[in-house]
């Protein structure tokens, strides 16, 4: 499972690039399979007898392998892209939050940030199948209560990530902070967010 340090230090772009490469691999499998099918068609049209039947049977089995290889490459590519994009979003939120945090709130930032990342990944991976399985594993953050020493700055931290955080995993202290910051007048409430954005520009 990713730690706070891993979340901030990881390189999401590498996952995105790997995902793109895997999807190109899937396209490559499509071309390889087309060539294989052409070869099998040539045999089918030119060869008769028991020996041909054995070869054809084996060819079908291998064709299935090429199809599965292509689908797996595509699926892996999608998982890597999903993870990469989810981490970009989580990292951006986390960095913006930590930039305004005090040292005392670093632990809370880490916990909230990790929860937010977990929730983001789970959200992106909610389509089922392998992506969801990966997402669940990566997002498996232990439940715990974080002491928020200074609700003011912790609220700022939470503001950047709470909209996607997994509230079900938060302790009462975090929930209280988040309830306040998500209220209309809170920092990520409709009014509060506009105010926060305005102050950032100034």
């Amino acid at each position: 499972m990713p730690s706070y340090v891993q979340l901030t230090a990881c390189n999401p772009q590498a996952f995105i690039e790997a995902g793109q490469t895997y999807q190109r691999m899937a396209a490559g499998f499509g071309r390889v399979r087309a060539a294989f099918q052409q070869g099998m068609a040539v045999l089918d049209g030119n060869w008769q007898g028991a020996a041909k039947d054995v070869v054809t049977g084996r060819g079908r089995h291998l064709d299935g392998g090429l199809v599965a290889g292509g689908q797996e490459a595509d699926s892996t590519g999608q998982v890597l892209l999903t993870l990469g994009h989810a981490l970009v979003t989580a990292q951006t939120s986390l960095r913006a939050a930590v930039a305004t945090a005090t040292a005392a709130d670093a632990a809370a930032a880490g916990k909230i940030g990790a929860l937010a990342a977990g929730r983001l990944i789970a959200t992106f991976g909610s389509g089922g199948g392998k992506a969801a399985a990966i997402a669940q594993e990566v997002a498996s953050i232990p439940t715990g209560e974080t002491k928020v020493a200074s609700p003011g700055t912790a609220a700022t931290i939470a503001a950047r990530v709470a909209s996607r955080a997994d509230f079900g995993r938060l302790g009462p202290v975090e929930r209280d902070v988040i309830d306040r910051v998500t209220a209309p007048t809170g920092i990520i409430g409709s009014e509060g967010l506009a105010e926060w954005t305005r102050r950032q520009k100034d």
């Binding site: 390189n11 070869g39 392998g65 599965a68 892996t76």
Partner: protein, 103 residues
């Protein structure tokens, strides 16, 4: 004609097996690059299973395709040999006309 086609397809399948090998190598290199700074994520069992098992399956598939191509080459040779034997047998069974041999 037939053995030649089978031989050609066999060579083509061997080439395809090499293409699959290249794709697997590309995937392995990609995962290695993605691991830079991200080893903790790649080390999760499901992610490792997705990437490592896939690459292992591709390697296996490449090996099977190579074998299939070689088998096709072998079939072409067998076909050639059987063809020659059958032609020889047919030739051997043609009765020799000796009616005028003594004359």
């Amino acid at each position: 004609m037939v053995p030649e086609k089978v031989r050609e397809v066999g060579q083509q399948v061997v080439q395809i097996s090499q293409d699959v090998g290249s794709i697997a190598s590309s995937g392995a290199a990609t995962i290695q690059l993605a691991g830079s700074g991200n080893a903790g994520f790649l080390a999760t069992p499901a992610m490792a299973a997705l990437t490592a098992a896939h690459l292992a399956a591709l390697k296996n598939l490449g090996g099977q395709l190579a074998q299939h191509g070689q088998d096709l080459g072998g079939s072409a040779q067998t076909y050639d040999a059987v063809d020659r034997e059958q032609n020889a047998a047919i030739t051997a069974h043609v009765p020799t006309d000796t009616t005028w041999a003594a004359h």
